[in-house]
Symmetry: C2
Subunit: 199 residues, 2 copies
């Protein structure tokens, strides 16, 4: 073998993910990706084939990074069903304020951004997002069913309906954050949503 890479592929992927996350797919040029990753064009194309492929990998990585902690929260048998959802909402608020753009405004959630900007035109992105959605709905159902059993979640509606409601609420919180809502507003949205879940 020969000359090894001088950069870390995973770090580069993270940087690219961040760029797509903050600016969207179309508005992120390959030049931007070079600057974000610190790599030259050759290194990028040599490693990631194309802008589209790089995006696909960045999105997959984003989903992977986000879903593990969510799964941990939603499957946490120590907590009641309602507490798991509350914790998930709290985490959503936190991540929304942990990751901000250069100007301090919210960059939202790459999955939501991709659904809105790209999913209609990009079947691969749509498939990734759909897979993530199915997984998350499954985890939500687990938590909600646990809540129905432990009495913290209403039995008025079935777990699948509630799961889709919780998922939509998270999406709504992320859009609200990008529209300028501050932390207190996001928390009040989450608190209000929990009212719909109580017995």
């Amino acid at each position: 073998m020969a000359r090894p890479r001088t950069f870390d592929e995973e770090r580069a992927l993270d940087a690219a993910m961040r760029a797509f996350w903050a600016n969207g797919y179309e508005a992120t040029s390959t030049q931007d990706l070079c600057e974000a990753t610190g790599l030259g064009r050759s290194s990028i194309y040599n490693t990631f084939t194309s802008k589209h492929d790089l995006f696909r990998r960045a999105l997959a990585r984003y989903i992977e990074l986000m879903s593990a902690p969510q799964a941990e929260i939603l499957e946490d048998a120590e907590r009641s069903g309602l507490e798991r959802i509350r914790a998930l909402f709290a985490r959503t608020v936190d991540t929304e304020f942990d990751h901000r753009g250069d100007d301090g405004s919210s960059i939202g959630c790459l999955t939501v951004n991709t659904v809105v900007e790209l999913a209609r035109r990009d079947p691969e992105a749509a498939a990734l997002v759909e897979g993530d959605l199915d997984l998350r709905l499954g985890l939500l159902r687990v938590a909600l069913e646990a809540g129905r059993r432990d009495g913290t979640i209403t039995t008025r509606r079935d777990a699948d309906t509630l799961a889709r409601f919780v998922n939509a609420t998270i999406g709504g919180m992320r859009v609200s954050a990008q529209a300028g809502a501050d932390r207190a507003v996001l928390e009040s949205i989450a608190d209000t949503a929990l009212d719909a879940l109580r017995p």
Copy 2:
């Protein structure tokens, strides 16, 4: 005066709005706008100055078109507070399925799409969207306060908090629709959200 236009400016604006709505700002080229409106470049630039200006006008028109019927619903004194919100949700579902792309998939809501794709980079678009948000929150508060008085809306939380929750729910429904949710799912999300508003 001299040669009059052979096209209707408002119709052209509607067509451009539809194009931006379906494909987003960046992914809609001036060529696309020519084809969507049926106009030549000269006519477009002569009438609308630039792509960005055309987008601004298209967004303003979208907001104008959407807000009037919403205001009518939310200020309808014939209905209880809760019924007004229910009607707003129903309208949201309907519009989501009235306006679909060529492939039949949802194109969402131009306002939400703009918040996600553009608001961070485009102060003018952000201002339009923010103005619309303020207006809608005001209308929602009116309906929710009416509901608190007529006993159909909880007094557990203040009207502003509930307004932001309802607004987030609508955003979440729109994102869900773009992610592939069908009508029944959207309706169940709306029904569940209403549970949080009841006394």
